[in-house]
């Protein structure tokens, strides 16, 4: 009698787990149920970077907090999902996709994808007049004039920060963020 009850109990538990797992599929809040993809992690990081950076006040008027993406459509998709309903610095988030470099304008963060790999100098030219936080997963991004680039270290998503570039653009990066960076240029 007891055995049967135990079996019954365990099976119910299993079913519940499965149900909750399926329910949580696609919900980034329950990241543990389902291992997040690398893109998701990067997208989450990009969203979070916004919390730890201060833009100059004249650049921070406007209703939305804009994150622009150039050169990585997958990333844009994932990012859109992740930031749904969220806000940074109390501004609702607006995602802009740029297909052409010349269109890049009016965003606070700009994620630069692999497609821009060979056009970085022109890109920096366009953005350096603007106070934009440039983030990328291209290696060596921060060694050039990029501000943050991702780096995977021992299975952990890490990032490097080019503080000088950020300061030149008029951006203030919180020490909280800086201390997590694996390298600061």
């Amino acid at each position: 009698m007891k055995c049967r009850l135990a079996i019954l109990f365990k099976s119910v538990l299993l079913i519940m787990c499965f149900v909750s797992a399926s329910l949580s599929y696609g919900n980034p809040a329950f990241a543990r149920e389902e291992q997040p993809s690398e893109t998701q992690v990067k997208a989450a990081f990009v969203y979070n970077f916004g919390k730890f950076v201060e833009w100059p006040p004249d650049r921070f008027v406007g209703k939305y907090f804009t994150i622009g993406i150039y050169g990585d459509d997958d990333f844009a998709q994932v990012l859109t999902e992740i930031v749904a309903g969220k806000s940074i610095h109390e501004k609702p988030i607006l995602i802009k996709r740029f297909s052409k470099m010349e269109d890049i304008a009016g965003c606070h963060i700009l994620f630069i994808g692999y497609s821009a790999k060979d056009h970085l100098p022109e890109l920096f030219n366009i953005v350096h007049k603007l106070s934009v936080l440039t983030v990328s997963d291209l290696q060596g991004f921060a060694d050039r004039s990029g501000m943050i680039n991702f780096k995977i270290v021992k299975n952990y998503m890490r990032f490097e920060i080019n503080l000088k570039a950020a300061q030149q653009a008029g951006l203030k990066i919180s020490s909280q963020l800086l201390k997590l960076a694996i390298a600061i240029k």
């Binding site: 543990r32 990081f45 969220k86 109390e90 909280q176 963020l177 201390k179 997590l180």
Partner: protein, 508 residues
Amino acid sequence: MARSKYSSIKEKLIRISMLVSASVLLLASMAFIIYEVLTFRDTMVRELTIYADIIGINSASALVFNDPVSAEGTLKPLREKRNIVSAGIYERNGQIFAEYSKDNGIKALRAPQNLQDRTDGHHFEGANLVLFKRIISEGERIGMVYIKSDLSEMEIRLSRYAGIVVGVFILSLLAAYVISSKLQQMISQPILHLATIARSISNEKNYAVRATVESQDEIGTLVETFNEMLNQIQSRNTALLKARDELEQKVEERTRDLVQENAQRKLAEEKLQQSMQGLKRVNTELQQFAYVASHDLQEPLRMVASFSQLLEMRYKNRLDKDADEFIEFIVGGANRMQRLINDLLSYSRVGTRGKPFQPTDFSSVLGQVLVNLGPLIEEKEAIVTNDDLPVLMADETQILQLFQNLIGNAIKFRGTERPVIHITARREASEWIFSVCDNGIGISPEYHERIFEIFQRLHTKEEYPGTGIGLAICKKIVERHSGRIWVESEPGKGSKFFFTISLQGDDL
């Protein structure tokens, strides 16, 4: 006595100050400690909340960027707080992200239930305080901080407070003692001074001494009043002494006057004695003279009487009628003269033949009188009654005479009815009052004094016989017995003769 009074006031004052200080301190300390005890839990919670807040802020980035190492770093400073047993940072899903444990070995952290639903809160778990605080970034909950602390720090703090309180208490009491011993002088010093002065005045009776006013308060007023009192005492004292001296003077004068008066009185008394002696002598001489005279008168009188009677016998019918009448007159006159002289004799004998007083039974004397007057009583059909009569110191013979005269008179001077005579006696202070009451003819008040004089008669010898000496003899007898005799009577209403016999010394 002065010393003990001094220290007890000092002690009292010091004790009062100490008691006040101690109570005040105690109350304040108690309030303080109670407040601490009541709020230490809140204080603990607040402290831990602050730590949790700080940790949350510091680890937010580590959480969002999934850097457990950095998160652990934010927990490291907790080692400085010896009361924190363990702490941890949980991810959004309740998984432990970073943890700290005081003794490094024991991982006392386990995922608490329903972490997602938990809000900020704390609870006491045995001897520990457990606190949870959400980590919120940009309005989004990204994790939870957990801190577990034991209550040792608070207990240490409390015991330190208690120690300080006790220390302050003791020190304050010491200070209170020192200060109050100095300050009590302000009160006790003037009092002691006053007490000393009062004692010295009472001992030496020197009322010129005054106490000095040292303070401006009720004690000062007391000292002033004390001095004022002394002023009054002093002035009264001098007044008293003065009065006393005057009085002494007056007494002296009076004494002198009295002595003088006394001497004068003595002189007067002596004179009086002398005249009394003289009078006595005269009296005795007179009595003797009366006695001798009447005695000596007897002899020639007898001659006349006897020879007149002889004449009458021998020559009665030989001479003429005139001669008979003349002889009758002579005989009658001589007889009367004899009687008068006899009466006079017996009157004077009252004094000269008076016997010393002996206890005399008045009842038996009365009995004898009635026997003597027997024939007369029978003849006149008189009724004689009497009260009980006492036994007194008296001359028996004379008392007999007295009663005989009075009762004889009562019968003689009867009215129209049968004579009823009653004799009473009653004691009054130091004398006996006797009375002889009759229902005879009575005596008019104008004669009440005269009847006691010698040879005073209110009636002719034809109406009633007698020489008129009876009552005079009665009076002399009564006066010899230091008494008085008087009458109450009215014509036709009988008479009451009263006489007193005074008691001679002891009662019988």
